[in-house]
């Protein structure tokens, strides 16, 4: 019974197929059966890394599995050669987060609520309209 639940937690075939096409040499083909086996291996890989990362996380008395835990897990499990790439991705994500936070904080630092900002904008528009109409009359 537990097995059928796990079956739903697989990777999208189309995505996997795309990655296969990018990696496979042009003169070779990948049997469909082989692709399905590959997907099973991928899911198993995720379980393996997650489980190890989770243990490492717990040993550090932390509650959330972070990138460093995944890095340590990869090293422990013999996938140390992946670590450099992983660290690049983690760094990129950190930088994207920072730039998102910067934009958000600029908005927050105006010290006004969205409603207040909207009211201010409407007031400015109203004044601009008045000026325009006054000018129009004078012409």
């Amino acid at each position: 019974m537990a097995d059928s639940m796990d079956d739903e937690l697989s990777l999208p075939k189309a995505t996997v197929q795309k990655v296969i096409s990018e990696i496979l040499p042009k003169d070779l083909a990948f049997a469909k059966e082989t692709r399905d086996l590959l997907i099973e291996c991928c899911v198993e890989f995720i379980h393996l890394i997650s489980s190890e990362a989770n243990e490492i996380c717990e040993k550090e008395a932390k509650k959330t599995i972070a990138a460093e835990h995944v890095v340590s897990a990869l090293e422990q499990l013999g996938f140390g050669e992946y670590v450099e790439e992983i660290q690049k991705v983690a760094q990129e994500h950190k930088e994207q987060q920072k730039s998102r936070e910067k934009k958000q904080s600029k908005f927050d630092q105006s010290g006004k609520t969205p409603e207040e900002l909207q009211a201010m904008q409407e007031e400015l528009l109203r004044k601009a309209r008045e000026r325009y109409e006054t000018n129009a009359e004078l012409q």
Binding site: D27, L28, I46, A53, I65
Partner: protein, 102 residues
């Protein structure tokens, strides 16, 4: 846009997180973690595919079969965790399913 386009997450991050959390022991997961695992997964796929194609070429075949993948797994120490999964598959040149020879 400052965002790097050199690497875009290929695998659905939400799905990876679900797979991780299918393990009851796994609790909270940082936002970056499934993204990092997605990249590791790509590298893993690359490695196992290329190991398999080496077997395909050894046999002068044009189609990568499950038998080739099984052999690649058996011969690579870091793929030991996959032995049970590939164990179910027939061997190359052995009985295997008729589809293998397609």
């Amino acid at each position: 846009m400052a965002a790097s386009k050199a690497y875009k997450t290929k695998f659905p991050v939400a799905r990876i997180k679900k797979i991780m959390q299918a393990d009851e022991d796994v609790g909270k997961v940082a936002q970056v973690t499934p993204i990092v695992i997605s990249r590791a997964l790509e590298l893993f796929m690359q490695q196992i595919i290329l190991a398999s194609t080496a077997k395909t070429r050894e046999r002068g075949a044009k189609r990568v079969t499950v038998g080739h993948m099984k052999q690649a797994v058996m011969e690579t120490e870091m793929f030991d965790f996959l032995e049970e999964i590939v164990g179910r598959v027939g061997d190359v040149g052995g009985e295997g399913s008729p589809k293998e020879e397609e």
